[in-house]
């Protein structure tokens, strides 16, 4: 890029001043006249048939206004349509906002109470009685696959609700020509990003106009819209997404149940209804990442070249089919990671169990795909007696091959993976460090280093999931469309509306920087609407705080809209200054003719004219100074729609990073301490360095903590044992290490500013980095790390009992 004034610079944040003053507006901060408070009755069984639900006593509690039972939900609403993740079901399985006739996980919603206060609603909850006939619960996916296992869904012949494969290249040939086959079994547990603000909805139905207004903290307006349309048959819907207290994927899917429930309750009572999830409900029922197991074989040459990979995957998707394949198809995004390997087969099974349904979570299937590659690279190095760095280097996509088309259709826009790895090696002083750590281990201090590399894909392609459902006729969308609207107001300030909500990624600040750059106006004079409002936000299929969409799509739209506005500003000014647009410059909101700085117009003057003085607006120029631009990624072909071989551009930009971890293990307690953690990161053009660093710090902290123990635990009856943040082991500032970041950006040739994704990325390689370092530290014990999490208990058992 040429010299910039605002892009890439440090600027004062737009959002922070309101948050540090307590002025953020979250759903729970909104109150409406006559508003009722709702609470949800949930299943205490992991698996049971439901009979009658008795509500009489609850309804008699003073202050209680209504109870909505699952019987009524079934009668008065329609099931959700199978979405892109259950498109492959042989028989449709209707899913409603509550359980119907049968509960399949602890915490599954069964009924809702609305009352004049939350406390009263909670009192009434205890008075509802549900006839349950408990059924045997099946918690382990392998047990669920046994022929004699209790079936979760009568519509299915087994608990394997989906089975499928992705295959690229000639895998059999790769294995025949291999010098060696390296085998491994890996496993990743269930976890979540536990946003600090739990799910929240406020629905207000106006009977007179049949209009439903919904305040909610969902990440994806499309999901909410579709849910209300499908389930409630209300067509006039307004969705407002105010400040959102963290999302990370948790607020995409299951929130639709509560949107529909509060909507139904508002229709039923004729009053606004607010529902705020509590923490325990969140842990039990707001969604968890998928438990995954992999059986892997790698075909390798003696020199360390990896010819191909064969993987069998089992996904424990819990008690719903609505997100059946989500962790499988998300692997398409980084299926080949940073490697030039050509042959690959992934066979998957999604198994339903009596656990919480699965939802996306900081990277979704990508951390596990990276985990597979990086664990295997370490394994190959060990078996061939090579250095882990050497094996990786040998297999990286060469820098000269960008843009590089991976065998599954992904086109890697830009990158220099060799450089990332080399810089990380240098930063760590890797070879020297390895020697030092070895010496320390010989003296009984268990330190180890892990160095891994991974991708951070950005900008979702809405057609991706159809790669595994080639027979589905109707695409759920393709590519991505996202809009932005920019207005120069009458007083000369500029207002921007984005198509997508923000969950705390400083979209307002980053947007203001791009607009400031393009319009020649200080960011101080630019305000970006802090909320999504479906009535004004220009939104499309990519308008979602998911899929690392913001940098590609929103910035694309903001860039387009601001250039369009600039053109209009210059046209009007050229008319007023009796010049031509090409001869004009804009500086700090003042337009002048190059070379004659005394003839000027200010944005303020232009605003007054554009909206108020037709006599000064030239013929043929639209009045007003407002533009809307819908961005679609111009390089989305080939493979925007999956071809017969299952090739599809899963995402459109590819950031990458090398992660180096040094850990020390206390073998007495099993505790792993991260002594040093470095990241060398390529996120393309960086618009706001503080924001990008913040995203890296946040996502790496989560990835490390996932590796070291945070996670969900169920007992064999399907009761969740980790219902609080403490049980779940959420780390504080004390357990979270300081991370060193070095930037090595390679701008994308395809995006408007060379920008690529910078969001969830560091959560992708970090579990692999920690696993690798822990294995290195435990070398004297001959322990192989095959499973996450590496909690103190697990480490202790590995060291002292040689097992888990």
């Amino acid at each position: 890029m040429t010299e910039t004034q605002y892009i890439g610079k440090k600027i004062r944040s737009k959002e922070a001043p309101r948050h540090v003053s307590g002025g953020g507006q979250f759903v729970d901060d909104v109150s409406l006249p006559g508003m009722l408070h709702a609470v949800v009755l949930r299943s205490s069984y992991a698996h049971a048939r439901m009979g009658h639900i008795e509500t009489r006593a609850a309804l008699e509690v003073p202050g209680v206004v209504a109870v909505l039972t699952s019987e009524e939900v079934k009668r008065t609403s329609r099931p959700f349509k199978p979405g892109r993740y259950s498109a492959g079901l042989q028989k449709p399985i209707p899913e409603y906002a509550t359980a119907v006739d049968r509960v399949r996980y602890v915490g599954e919603p069964v009924a809702m109470v609305a009352a004049r206060s939350r406390a009263v609603a909670e009192d009434a909850l205890d008075l509802i009685s549900v006839e349950y006939e408990p059924l045997p619960a099946v918690v382990d996916p392998w047990e669920a696959m046994e022929p004699a296992a209790p079936l979760l869904f009568d519509e299915l012949d087994s608990n394997v609700a989906w089975k499928g494969a992705l295959s690229y290249g000639d895998v059999d040939e790769a294995f025949q020509s291999a010098d060696q086959i390296v085998r491994e079994k890996l496993k990743i547990h269930r976890y979540s990003s536990t946003p600090l603000e739990s799910l929240a909805c406020l629905a207000s139905f106006d009977d007179a106009s049949s209009k439903l207004t919904l305040w909610c903290n969902g990440q994806n307006p499309e999901v909410l819209y579709d849910a209300l349309g499908e389930a409630l048959d209300v067509q006039d819907v307004r969705v407002i997404l105010p400040d959102i207290g963290g999302g990370f994927g948790q607020k995409i899917h299951l929130i639709r149940k509560y949107v529909v429930l509060t909507g139904l309750m508002s229709v039923k009572t004729g009053r606004p209804v607010k529902w705020i999830e509590d923490r325990t409900e969140h842990m039990m029922a707001a969604g968890q990442s998928c438990g995954m197991e992999f059986d892997i074989e790698a075909a390798v040459k003696k020199d360390g070249t990896v010819l191909g990979l064969k993987i069998q995957e089992v996904d424990d998707v819990g008690g719903s089919v609505s997100t059946l394949t989500i962790h499988f198809t998300n692997k398409l995004n980084n299926l080949f990671s940073t490697y030039k390997v050509k042959n690959f087969r992934l066979e998957g099974r999604s198994v339903v169990t009596n656990k919480c349904p699965v939802v996306p979570n900081r990277g979704i299937g990508k951390p596990s795909m990276c985990f597979i590659w990086e664990r295997m690279m370490d394994r190959v190095a060990q078996e061939l007696g090579m250095s882990p760095v050497e094996v990786r280097s040998k297999n990286l996509v060469p820098t000269s091959e960008f843009p590089y088309t991976a065998p599954n259709g992904n086109v890697y826009d830009s990158g220099d993976y060799t450089q990332l790895l080399e810089k990380a090696v240098k930063k760590l002083e890797y070879e020297k460090l390895r020697k030092e750590l070895k010496q320390k281990r010989e003296k009984g201090k268990y330190l180890g280093v892990g160095l891994v590399i991974g991708l951070e894909p950005g900008g979702r392609n809405a057609a991706r999931d159809m790669a595994i459902f080639p027979d589905v006729k109707e695409l759920p969308g393709a590519g991505g469309v996202e809009g932005a609207t920019i207005k120069l107001e009458r007083n000369g300030s500029v207002t921007v509306f984005l198509g997508a909500p923000s969950c705390g990624q400083f979209h307002e600040t980053t947007t203001a920087q791009v607009v400031a750059e393009n319009l020649g106006l200080s960011p101080d004079n630019i305000s970006v609407a802090p909320r999504f409002d479906s009535e004004v936000s220009p939104w499309g299929v990519a308008s979602s705080n998911t899929g690392n969409n913001f940098h590609l799509y929103d910035i694309g739209a903001v860039h387009g809209a601001s250039l369009k506005l600039r053109e209009k500003i210059l046209q009007l000014s050229a008319h007023l200054l009796e010049s031509s647009p090409q001869k004009l410059t804009i500086d700090d909101g003042i337009i002048s003719i190059q070379g004659s700085p005394d003839k000027t117009f200010t944005f303020n003057e232009l605003g007054k004219i554009a909206y108020g003085n037709q006599s000064l607006i030239p013929e043929g120029l639209e009045a007003g100074l407002q533009t809307t631009y819908y961005y679609k990624f111009p390089h989305a072909q080939p493979f925007m729609v999956p071809d017969k071989e299952g090739r599809v551009r899963a995402q459109f930009t590819f950031s990458a990073a090398a992660h180096g971890a040094v850990v020390e293990i206390d073998t007495e307690t099993g505790r792993v301490k991260v002594v040093r953690y470095i990241i060398v990161s390529d996120n393309g053009t960086i618009i706001n360095p503080d924001v990008v660093d913040g995203q890296i710090y946040g996502s790496v902290a989560h990835g490390i903590s996932v590796a070291l123990g945070e996670g969900f635990v169920y007992d064999s009856d399907g009761q969740l044992l980790t219902v609080t943040l403490t049980d779940y082991s959420k780390p504080t500032a004390c357990e979270t290490p300081r991370v060193e970041i070095e930037h090595a950006p390679v701008p994308s040739p395809f995006s408007v500013l060379g920008q690529k994704a910078a969001g969830e990325g560091a959560a992708i390689p970090s579990p692999a980095a920690i696993a690798s370092a822990v294995e290195d530290a435990l070398q004297p014990f001959g322990i192989k790390i095959r499973e996450l999490p590496l909690s103190p208990e697990v480490i202790w058992r590995l060291v002292h009992q040689g097992e888990r």
Partner: protein, 157 residues
């Protein structure tokens, strides 16, 4: 039966009725209308609801409103003075020490109390001082940096 309580919040006197079982966090948010105090767990684990009670950080979800009778409370809304952000608020803005902003009020009050007690806190002491406050977004780095940066201002007073 509701009870009458008298207290000072951010320097202002209030006389309000509260049900005995009403938690202080909800009293502040709903009765008084100070929604800057957030609720992330209601069981004392997350710190989002942290406030100052007679100058000490407490989790307002672990107290009943009636327990605040006769006390002096500071919430995030009370940190700024004369329309100027306080040093700790300013440092949080400057250092991007937040993302979604949901933990921010509690973090600020915990950090303010810590620096008031010990403006010379080391990084480790800062981390320990903030251990009652969870942040799901930031990985804490920029928060710790902001607290360090604000410490100088606390030394002056």
């Amino acid at each position: 039966m509701k009870q009458l309580i008298q207290l000072r919040i951010n320097g202002q006197a209030y006389e309000e009725e509260a049900e005995p079982r009403m938690l202080l966090a909800f009293f502040l948010r709903e009765t008084i209308g100070l929604t800057g105090t957030h609720v992330g767990c209601v069981v004392g684990e997350c710190g989002a609801c942290s406030i100052l009670l007679d100058g000490r950080v407490v989790k307002s979800c672990l107290l009943f409103a009636v327990q605040a009778n006769g006390k002096e409370i500071t919430t995030v809304e009370g940190l700024a003075q004369d329309g100027e952000l306080s040093p700790i608020q300013e440092a949080f803005v400057k250092h991007y020490a937040l993302q979604c902003g949901y933990c921010t009020s509690g973090m600020l009050l915990a950090a303010h109390a810590l620096l008031t007690r010990n403006p010379d806190s080391s990084e480790e002491e800062i981390r320990r001082g903030l251990a009652g406050n969870l942040c799901m977004c930031t990985g804490y780095t920029q928060i710790v940096d902001a607290v360090k940066a604000a410490a100088g201002e606390y030394k002056k007073v």
